[in-house]
């Protein structure tokens, strides 16, 4: 037993040391840094950083650009998450349908965007969205619809980013929903058919309630991912036009690694952390109410 424990620690040691150095200590250090005025002078010599209490947090809540970044991020989340869920659920139902005759082809095809690197695919989207030569303009034209100057118009830049993010994550979420759909026993549907429930009623009163844990899981994971919005606006708009797509992480990146206001940027990181923490707590809470059948 004693010998056993020694062996176990030996196997654990490399992973634990790395996690200690690169995750656990930095989480604490980040909070400590957020209580200092760590800036470019401190970068040269750490002793230039002074403890300033919660001043960074106070300053943050008086910073109009931070509020702008916060509200932009919430806009992205509030529209993007429901849209992503509804569309990927519809896709999963279609993929699961007995009338779908090319399951493998569709699964692979829809999954493809999820494995692409965000910056590279955003560069492609910038070209797709081009107001003069882009294929989206052409596609809308065919249906007689006007095409806005997507990334150049403060009203349309965020919808364009939402469109790309939803497009990219669609197949991944749909596959999770698909696994959820396939875990619902067919006997439940058979019973409903005997009771005379039509297709919509079966979806509304069987599929949706039994799928609730999956839906919640997808919603929380998407929410956590979307709160960290960064690469899309970094590539597509650099936060513009008129700061319409400035996100929390993009603003944090600017302060942290453009101006090296690392104390101030750490405070922003902690506000983001708090938001994600609440979302994660909600998700662990929900596991307790797992639906059984």
């Amino acid at each position: 037993m004693q010998r056993n424990a020694k062996v176990a620690y030996m196997f654990l040691a490399p992973a634990l040391v790395l996690m200690m150095v690169f995750v656990v200590i930095p989480v604490v250090a980040s909070f400590v840094i957020s209580l200092t005025n760590f800036d470019i002078f401190a970068l040269a010599d750490w002793s230039n950083a002074k403890f300033i209490g919660f001043d960074n947090y106070v300053r943050l809540f008086q910073d109009e650009l931070f509020w702008k970044a916060l509200s932009n991020t919430l806009y992205f989340v509030a529209v993007g998450v429901p849209l992503a869920i509804v569309l990927s659920l519809i896709l999963a139902v279609l993929l699961n349908s007995p009338f779908n005759h090319a399951k493998d082809l569709f699964r692979v095809g829809y999954y493809l965007p999820s494995i692409t690197e965000t910056v590279a695919i955003a560069v492609v989207w910038r070209w797709v969205l081009n107001p003069r030569y882009g294929i989206l303009k052409r596609a809308l034209e065919i249906f007689g619809l006007p095409s806005p100057n997507w990334l150049g118009d403060p009203r349309w830049a965020m919808p364009a980013i939402i469109m790309m993010a939803v497009w990219k994550g669609l197949g991944h979420n749909a596959l999770i929903f698909l696994a959820g759909l396939q875990s619902i026993p067919s006997t439940v549907y058979e019973a409903a058919q005997i009771d005379g429930a039509n297709g919509w009623e079966q979806f509304r009163f069987i599929t949706l309630p039994l799928l609730a844990p999956t839906t919640f899981f997808v919603a929380i994971m998407t929410l956590i991912g979307y709160l960290q919005l960064f690469a899309e606006p970094y590539t597509l708009t650099d936060g513009g036009p008129l700061d319409a797509t400035l996100s929390i992480v993009l603003y944090m990146y600017r302060h942290g690694f453009k101006f090296f206001n690392l104390g101030y940027a750490s405070a922003m990181a902690y506000v983001l952390f708090a938001m994600i923490f609440v979302a994660t707590l909600l998700s662990t809470r929900s596991r307790a109410e797992e639906v059984t059948y």
């Binding site: 654990l12 790395l18 656990v24 779908n100 492609v124 983001l272």
Partner: protein, 276 residues
């Protein structure tokens, strides 16, 4: 009743799926097509899917003027190192959690899982300061080290290893096999499916990583592909053919990898519901 609805439903379901699939595929086709176009073809309207005068000029410029070979090499080195080291270290830790009893086991395991909640942006600044102090900015170590140990990887390996029969390990111990031998020769070979799935998730994840390389690699010679492409998009803002060729370099290797190993990718999603 089912037979009567069969044809219209089949048409409807497949029509919707095909329309959606066209929407999924169009940006990829558009990217590939533009990357083989010269200026004249690029600025044609309505857009042409097939280049009228196909050319390799964009790729030539990408390798000669932009020197994409260097970021390509950096990305390969980084992704391969992270994947290899991560598989070793995570399976070792996963093994300890799956097959050993030791004081503090539950606390440590909960601690490891707890770090799943920590977004990368939180640890970024202190880790940057630490690596800067150690002189590891613009080095492979700086790119690789923070990415090796992942709570997800440890959890994933543990879940798989718990299912291995204890009798097998006991029998080997009775035969006098050393602990390292057992891990290396008995446990790891049995974990091949899990290692393959985790390896693929890790490799794709590190190939596609952007924010950390952006911060740690300030010198052009240490850029990874995503950073180089982001830079390219700013520097050659109107050279769409060149930009598309750059995106092809980042996206297509993973797409091809995916097409060959899709069952492992899909298994990863099914087993975890999470991306690597």
């Amino acid at each position: 009743m089912k037979a009567a609805r069969n044809i219209p439903m089949t048409v409807l379901v497949n029509f919707l799926l095909i329309v959606g699939l066209v929407g999924m595929a169009a940006p990829f086709v558009w990217m590939l097509s533009t990357s083989f176009k010269g200026t004249k073809d690029i600025f044609r309207y309505p857009p042409q899917w097939i280049p009228q005068e196909p050319t390799l000029d964009n790729y030539r410029k990408l390798f000669r003027t932009v020197n994409i070979g260097r970021p390509l090499m950096n990305t390969v080195i980084t992704a391969v190192s992270i994947t290899g080291l991560s598989l070793i270290i995570c399976s070792m830790a996963g093994y300890a959690f799956a097959k050993f009893e030791f004081p503090g086991k539950n606390v440590l395991f909960m601690g490891v899982l707890g770090t799943l909640m920590v977004p990368g942006q939180i640890t970024m600044i202190p880790v940057f300061l630490l690596l800067k102090k150690l002189g590891l900015l613009n080095t492979y170590s700086g790119l690789v080290l923070p990415g090796i140990a992942s709570a997800f990887g440890i959890f994933f390996m543990r879940q798989f290893m718990v299912t291995l029969p204890n009798e097998l390990l006991e029998a080997a111990r009775i035969d006098g096999a050393g602990e390292f031998f057992i891990f290396n020769r008995i446990v790891l070979p049995l974990c091949k499916p899990a290692l393959a799935t985790l390896g693929i998730l890790n490799f794709t994840g590190s190939w596609n990583n952007f924010l950390w390389p952006l911060i740690i690699s300030t010198d052009e010679s240490m850029y990874t592909l995503p950073v180089a492409v982001a830079n390219l998009a700013g520097q050659y803002a109107t050279e769409y053919g060149l930009q598309m060729a750059g995106s092809v370099m980042v996206i297509m290797p993973i797409v091809i990898f995916f097409l060959f190993a899709q069952q492992w990718f899909m298994e990863g999603v099914a087993m975890t519901g999470m991306k690597g």
